[in-house]
C-alpha cells in the first residue's frame, strides 16, 4: 500500500484501488488531489488491468475545500496553476487505457463529481447524492465538468445541474445516465470489484488496452481516423492470435 496525505493506493488481483482518504467528507484540499507524478507511479506499477476510485467511509467526496482554496490561491495566476494540476490529473484518468470505475457512496459533490465524470463506469450506492454546488458560491465546475457532464447526460439535464446546483439522488442519476449501476449501500465496492474482475480477469492486457484505446479514439479523432485506427488495432491482435495458435500447434 502506498500513501500520500489525502489518498491511498493498493493493488488487489491486478486491480488498482485509490481511496480518497480524508473522512468523513474526503474533501479535496487541492484540485490536483494526487500529484500527477505519484499517480503515474501508482498506475505504472505492475501490470494493472483496471482502476477503482472510492472514498474512505460513508462518502465519496464532498469536493474542493473552498475556504482553503480561497486562502491559498492568491492571485488569479496561482489559482489557474492549481486548477490546471487538477485538470491534468482528471484528463490522465479519463485517458487511461484500462477501465476506471468510480464507487460513489453518499456525497459526491463538485470536485468529487468531476472525478466520477472522468471515470469510465459509475457505480453508486442507493443513498448517493450528486451535485455541482459551485453556483451557490458564485463559482462554476472548473475541472472539465461543464464539458464532460453534457456529454454524459445531455444538455438539458446538465444545464439544470450546473446552473441550478440541483442535488440528484442515485435513482435520478441512473435515469439520466449519470449512474450506470445502483447497488445496496454496503455493497458498491464489492460490486465494482466483481464487475472489474468479470471484465478483465481472463483478458490479456493488450486486448483491454486495444478496446479502451478504440473508445478513446472515438472521442479524440475524426470518424475516418478512428475507423482506420480501430482496424489497425484489430489486425495487430488478430496477427498475434494467429501466431499464438501456430506456436501452440507446433
Amino acid at each position: 500500500m502506498s500513501q500520500i496525505d489525502f489518498a491511498t493506493f493498493e493493488i488487489l488481483n491486478e486491480v488498482g484501488i485509490i481511496t480518497l482518504d480524508l473522512p468523513p467528507g474526503n474533501y479535496l484540499p487541492i484540485p490536483g488531489f494526487i500529484p500527477l507524478k505519484i499517480f503515474k507511479q501508482w498506475i505504472g506499477s505492475d501490470h494493472l488491468k483496471g482502476l477503482i476510485i472510492r472514498g474512505r467511509g460513508k462518502n465519496f467526496s464532498a469536493g474542493g475545500n473552498l475556504e482553503q482554496l480561497f486562502k491559498e490561491s492568491g492571485p488569479p495566476d496561482t489559482m489557474q496553476c492549481l486548477m490546471n494540476e487538477g485538470i491534468e490529473l482528471l484528463n490522465c484518468i479519463q485517458n487511461l487505457e484500462i477501465p476506471v470505475i468510480s464507487v460513489i457512496s453518499g456525497v459526491c459533490f463538485g470536485g468529487g463529481l468531476e472525478i466520477a465524470l472522468a471515470s469510465h463506469i459509475r457505480v453508486a450506492s442507493e443513498n448517493a447524492l450528486l451535485a455541482f454546488p459551485e453556483v451557490s458560491h458564485n463559482l462554476m465546475p472548473g475541472m472539465g465538468g461543464t464539458v464532460r457532464l453534457p456529454g454524459v447526460i445531455g444538455w438539458s439535464y446538465a444545464v439544470n445541474m450546473i446552473l441550478g446546483g440541483d442535488i440528484i439522488n442515485a435513482k435520478a442519476g441512473k435515469e439520466m445516465g449519470l449512474i450506470d449501476y445502483i447497488v445496496p449501500k454496503d455493497q458498491p465496492f464489492t460490486f465494482a470489484l466483481n464487475l472489474m474482475q468479470k471484465m478483465t480477469r481472463d483478458r490479456p492486457l493488450k486486448v483491454i488496452k486495444s478496446i479502451m484505446k478504440s473508445l478513446k479514439n472515438a472521442r479524440t479523432l475524426s470518424p475516418e481516423a478512428a475507423m482506420a485506427e480501430e482496424t489497425k488495432l484489430f489486425c495487430k491482435l488478430a496477427a498475434d492470435e494467429a501466431e499464438r495458435r501456430k506456436t501452440e500447434e507446433a
Binding site: 477501465p99 478496446i211 478504440s214 472515438a218 480501430e230 491482435l237 498475434d240
Partner: protein
C-alpha cells in the same frame, strides 16, 4: 451466393444466405461490396431489410479463415462498407432472429433500426478469442448505450438476450419471432424514403415506437 438480394414493392431484402449460421466469410464481404455499390444506384428503392436465412441472423465472421488471412486493407474496406450503409438515405432495418453476434451484430448496429425476436441472442464475444470487435461495434454500442456499457460488454464478451439489448438501447423493438419480418416490412413502408442517421431518435419516436404500441 452468400447473399440473396431481392427487390419487392420497392423494398430491398438482403438475406444472409449461408444457413444454418450464415457465417460472414471473405466471400460474403466481397459479395457485400458489389451489392452495396449496386444498391447505391438502384432507382426506386425505398428501404432495405437485412435478415438471415433460417433460424438465425448470423454468427459473424469465420474466425479461422479470418486469422489465416489477416489483411488490414481488406478489414478497413469492410469497415468502410458498413459505414457507407449507415450513410444511406433510405432506411436500413435489421430484422434479427436467433443468433446475432460478432461482425453480424456489428452489421446490425450499422443499420438505422433493429427489430429483434424475443429469443434472439446478441453480443460481441471477440475478446474471448483474444480479439476485439473490429468493424465499428465498440463505437456504435457506445453511441447507443453509452461508453460504460460499451466497455463492459466488449471486455466481458458475454452474449445477452433481446430483452437486455432493448434495455440498453441496442435494439429498438422486441417481438415474437414470427412477427419480426412482418413488422420490419411495415416499418420499411411507413418510414420516410429519405432519412438521415443524425436524426435517428426522431424517426424512432415518430414511427417505430408508436407502430409497436
Amino acid at each position: 451466393m452468400m447473399i440473396h438480394w431481392m427487390i419487392e414493392g420497392g423494398i430491398g431484402h438482403l438475406k444472409l444466405n449461408q444457413p444454418p449460421s450464415n457465417t460472414m466469410t471473405m466471400d460474403f464481404f466481397r459479395e457485400m461490396r458489389d451489392l452495396v455499390n449496386k444498391i447505391k444506384y438502384a432507382p426506386g428503392l425505398k428501404a432495405i431489410i437485412i435478415h438471415g436465412h433460417g433460424r438465425h441472423f448470423s454468427s459473424g465472421a469465420d474466425i479461422n479463415e479470418l486469422l489465416d488471412n489477416v489483411d488490414e486493407q481488406a478489414m478497413l474496406e469492410n469497415h468502410r462498407l458498413f459505414a457507407q450503409m449507415e450513410q444511406f438515405k433510405i432506411p436500413v432495418i435489421s430484422a434479427i432472429r436467433g443468433v446475432c453476434i460478432g461482425s453480424a451484430f456489428e452489421l446490425a448496429l450499422f443499420s438505422h433500426f433493429r427489430i429483434c425476436s424475443e429469443d434472439a441472442v446478441l453480443g460481441l464475444p471477440e475478446s474471448n478469442f483474444n480479439l476485439m470487435p473490429g468493424i465499428g461495434g465498440i463505437q456504435r454500442v457506445a453511441r447507443l448505450a453509452g461508453s460504460a456499457k460499451a466497455i463492459e460488454i466488449t471486455l466481458r464478451g458475454n452474449t445477452f438476450p433481446a430483452e437486455d439489448a432493448l434495455k440498453m438501447g441496442l435494439v429498438d423493438v422486441v417481438v415474437p419471432k414470427g412477427e419480426v419480418l412482418p413488422l420490419a416490412l411495415i416499418f420499411a413502408r411507413e418510414l420516410p424514403e429519405n432519412i438521415d442517421i443524425e436524426y435517428r431518435a426522431f424517426y424512432l419516436h415518430k414511427y417505430i415506437k408508436p407502430l409497436n404500441a
